[in-house]
Every structure is written in C-alpha cells, then in structure tokens.
Amino acid sequence: MLSCRELVRHSSEYVEGELTGWSKWSLKLHLFICRRCSRYVRHLRTTIDALAMLGRGQTEPSREFMARMQQRYRDWAVAHDQPGS
C-alpha cells in the first residue's frame, strides 16, 4: 500500500485532478482510511486558496509606472492616427 510519505509527495497532483487510473485510486483509498493524510490534503487545499487570496492583493503598479504608460499610450495613439481615417 501507498505510504503516507508517497501520498504527501503526490498530493498537489491529486488536488489538481491530474492523477488518473490506479495512482488516483490508490490515493483515494489511502485517504479513505488515513485521517492524518486527509488532514494534510485538507490543509493543502486551504494553503492553495490562501495563496490565491494573497495573490489578489499583491503587486500594484506604481504611480510612476501608470503615468509612463498613459503618456506612451497617448503618444502611440497620435502616431497611429492616419490622416483622413
């Protein structure tokens, strides 16, 4: 039978639904009888969701960056205005 260590090692693939066939079933079976690994997998899902949530609040563009972008967008617009179009 699959060891807890092996289960933990492949748990990301399991939660992302990337496992198929026997590997998937052997993990499912192990999780059915092992509370410790079930808890690990539950915490792993929570961790992944927490990271996504943390990611949503991260890296805003700086004000200088936005100002530069706006300026260049206007320059680009002027350069691409065809006469008569």
């Binding site: 990301s12 890296t59 206007r74």
Partner: protein
C-alpha cells in the same frame, strides 16, 4: 470550422483600446499587471520587470489590430511579455535555470523511515483562507518565507498559485518540463503549508 474563443467582452475591450480609450487602457493595464509582472520578474528579475511589462504593452498595442482571437487575450498578452523578457535576457546574455533541486522526501523528518507520519499535522483553528489571512502577522510571514524560497520554487508558486496561470502555460513560458514544474510547485506549497501550520500552533512566524 473556426475555433473562436474570443468573448464579446474581449472584443469590446479591444475595440476600446484601438479607439484610444484612456480609461479602458488604464483598467486593463492594472488588471493584467500582477500576472505580467510575475512572468517578467520570473524570467529577467525584478530590476527590469517593469520595463519589460511596459515594452510588452506596446508590442501588444501594435499587434492588436491583427489579434485573431484564437487564444484568450490574456494568454496572448502573457506570451508576449514572456517573449519580450526572453529577448531582453538574450541581449544581456544571461540565462535562467529552473532545474529542480533534489530536496529529498526520503529524509523528511515528518515521516518515520517506513513512510508513515511521525509528526502528523494538528487540526487548524482557522480553517478557511479568509480566517487565516485575517491575521496580518501570518500574511507578512507568508510573504517573508516566500521571498526566501529558492528562485525556481518562488517563480512557479507565484505564477501558478498567486497569479492563477495554467500549468501548461507556465511550462511553455519558462520552457520547463511539466514533471519538473510539478515537483517545484509542490515543494513550495508544502513549505507554505508548514508556515501556516507553525503559525497555527505557536502563533509565531
């Protein structure tokens, strides 16, 4: 038959960008910034990431009239920023290495030699992401520990979990095998899980 994945929303956005709509441009630049920045920084480093994102946007605008909507707009833009970063990297003749390092599960002290749990995780008091992240100390701690991850693990964690890109897309941009990427991703996630676990048990980072 033509496959057309372009949504009405995307079509409208493209039309607004081509019609020199400042507000639409600002909105889309802000919206895509975290993913674009993560990709650029992953390839070329933080110092030049902003510059690369900026250049990528002007390649995007230039090519936009010919965008055929065979892929989603965001995927297309992500590919452009990746290419921009890579060509920049070639100019600087540096290279990135994303080899998976061999941190062994075999010697992981959480498991007994036979492979069962030696020190199993306890239940967590806060069990939802929102509850967990309500603690500012934990948010800071996660960011700090993330910054300390090996570059390759940090990059993949950032692109996959923080920015929500698809694995296939990530392997494509970074030119890594999917098995390699998976190993790195899971290592990084497992470390972040342990950061949360320690915080839950001891209230410290």
């Amino acid at each position: 038959m033509t496959t057309n994945q372009q949504t009405a929303e995307e079509k409208q956005l493209i039309a607004r960008l081509l019609a020199r709509d400042d507000a639409a441009f600002e909105q889309v630049v802000r919206e895509y910034y975290p993913s674009m920045y993560a990709v650029a920084a992953a390839i070329i480093g933080h110092a030049l990431a902003d510059e690369v994102v900026q250049e990528a946007w002007f390649s995007v605008l230039g090519a936009l009239p010919r965008f055929e909507g065979r892929s989603k707009l965001k995927s297309w833009i992500i590919r452009i920023v990746a290419n921009e970063a890579k060509s920049r990297l070639r100019k600087e003749s540096r290279s990135v290495s994303l080899e998976a390092i061999n941190e062994s599960w075999a010697t992981d002290p959480r498991f007994a030699p036979a492979g069962h749990w030696h020190t199993p995780l306890p239940n967590w008091e806060s069990d939802t992401p929102a509850d967990l992240l309500a603690a500012e100390q934990l948010r800071d701690c996660l960011k700090m520990r993330m910054a300390e991850l090996p570059d390759n693990q940090k990059t993949i964690l950032n692109l996959r979990d923080m920015s929500g890109l698809e694995m296939a897309e990530i392997c494509n941009i970074l030119e890594v095998s999917s098995s390699n990427a998976r190993v790195l991703l899971h290592r990084a996630r497992d470390k972040m899980l342990r950061v949360i676990d320690k915080f839950q048990r001891l209230g410290e980072c």
